[in-house]
Subunit: 308 residues, 2 copies
């Protein structure tokens, strides 16, 4: 496949989907893009990416509208949509999934793979995490302002040659991508950061620098992180509690950053409350432990969403 390049469907033309689809196009893959609201614009004008790695413009091989799927055979179907309740992802991607297809989730949250794995029991599921500051300023117009690393691995864990090949593709267009053999733990590690900073940023309408320059909020951030690390460990992921200090230290030195949840909130889009907080709270119930800080944020965010 490395020779003939891969056939790829990227699902979702938001910031993450449209950005990484473009990097895959640059790597020489055949990339189709499944779009919802941005279909008409991207179909006629392609996608413009303003990136710290260099601006570029691309046109997907095929631009496919959500409501009129044009079935195809793909090596990879890469999910880059937000993880939201009420979206039937399996039925959306079914026309594009054949026996050989690897389904890849490049999405936030935890416990987001099981519904996909259940709907496609014979397919390989890859799970991935994007560490990137990307924003969709308009349909087909993406701003990549910082970072960009991808971590991809077989779900729930283990080695997969197709994960390696996908990572190679990304690397060949300059994306710092890595394979992990324990993506569940990588996902928990990212949640340790997301679980406090995403919701608090929405409540405070502020960037990361503000959140780590206040002793009271820092103590709440630490408390939420501790609950997430505890959950991760109960889930069999060998996370060390020292990740808390390193996340906080990193956040203190990184450029002030507006979380994806705050961007969603400000743009009037639904927030990934369930994937980021709800699933963690439910995991705690399953394990029979108390996660009062997580639960408070979850409760408050749910009603922020409801009262919008």
């Amino acid at each position: 496949m490395a020779e003939e390049k891969a056939n790829i469907l990227v699902v979702g033309s938001g910031a993450i989907g449209a950005f990484y689809a473009g990097k895959l196009v640059q790597s020489g893959a055949k990339v189709d893009l499944l779009c919802r609201s941005d279909y008409e614009t991207i179909k006629s004008k392609g996608v413009l990416v303003k990136s710290i790695w260099g601006d570029f413009h691309y046109t997907p091989r095929k631009t496919i509208p959500f409501d009129k799927p044009d079935p195809g055979e793909y090596d990879y179907v890469i999910l880059c949509t937000k993880v939201l309740p009420g979206v039937n992802v399996p039925s959306m991607i079914r026309p594009f999934v054949s026996k050989e297809t690897s389904i890849v989730l490049i999405q936030n949250g935890i416990e987001i793979e099981p519904p996909i794995a259940k709907a496609f029991p014979d397919n390989e599921i890859l799970s991935g995490l994007a560490f990137v500051c990307c924003e969709r300023k308009a349909p087909g117009e993406i701003y990549h302002t910082d970072y960009g690393r991808l971590v991809i691995g077989l779900y729930p864990r283990g080695y997969s040659s197709s994960a390696t090949q996908l990572v190679e593709l990304f690397r060949s267009s300059g994306v710092p991508a890595e394979v992990t053999e324990d993506v569940k733990t990588a996902r928990w590690a990212k949640l340790v950061w997301n679980a406090p900073f995403n919701p608090i940023s929405v409540l405070c309408k502020c960037t990361t620098d503000k959140m780590v320059s206040n002793a009271t909020i820092e103590s709440v951030v630490r408390a939420v992180m501790k609950e997430v690390v505890t959950l991760a460990r109960l889930d069999g992921s060998p996370l060390s509690f020292s990740i808390i200090e390193s996340h906080i230290k990193d956040t203190k030195v990184m450029k002030p950053y507006k979380t994806s949840m705050l961007l969603d909130y400000e743009a009037g889009r639904p927030m990934e409350i369930e994937a980021i907080l709800g699933n963690a709270v439910r995991k705690a119930e399953e394990f029979g432990i108390e996660v009062p800080h997580l639960k408070t944020l979850y409760g408050v965010l749910s009603i922020v969403e409801q009262c919008r």
Copy 2:
């Protein structure tokens, strides 16, 4: 005193101060009003109260500006200001306090009396709670839209004839006022309601009905209330946990209500975060117990305030 009526200074011409000062004027007391920003308006035009109990207009006997105190002898100095850090209340009221003066706090929060009691060790301290929906729409313009009950008692507890006399004065103008011999417990009981609903209303920008029609938020509200009841009991106040159910039930049937903290937030005024949440969190530290829900709300509200 019931014969010759009382000499009273009301401190603060916000919603609570200007409203209850008016009721005391109606009862025949000699009422002076200490004002900050509203001084000029009230000095020249008095105060207009639009009330569900009947509209009225009054002029304080004296309108006194904060910055040029005109000392006087008072039976009661009634504090109706917001409880905010950085305001030196003792020095503000000292010119008005003589040996016989009862200092009355009609304010929100807990642990707000000690600084006053310490500054005036020889004076009687009365502490009071207002259960009222009142809003200051403009300087000297108060809207009383619901409720109005007052509970007043000797601080920290016990019987006081001046509390009884003050309550009688309020009653004679139609205010449903009561004496309590355990005002600390009454204050904790009110905090059980305020501690969840005030901050959550600010985070969600919503009225009480919204907060009690969402199962997730209701579970957070209950968890916060449970922490406050636990603190109250450790503080020697015999509150029953059943107050949680009755507060929630009452909130479900009451008219949708915008909390004072949300009104302050929307008007760009400082919020009583320390009096309502900070003092409770510090009480928990003193007792050595964990109050994670309270602490999360406290942390988030602190940064909301900081990022405004």
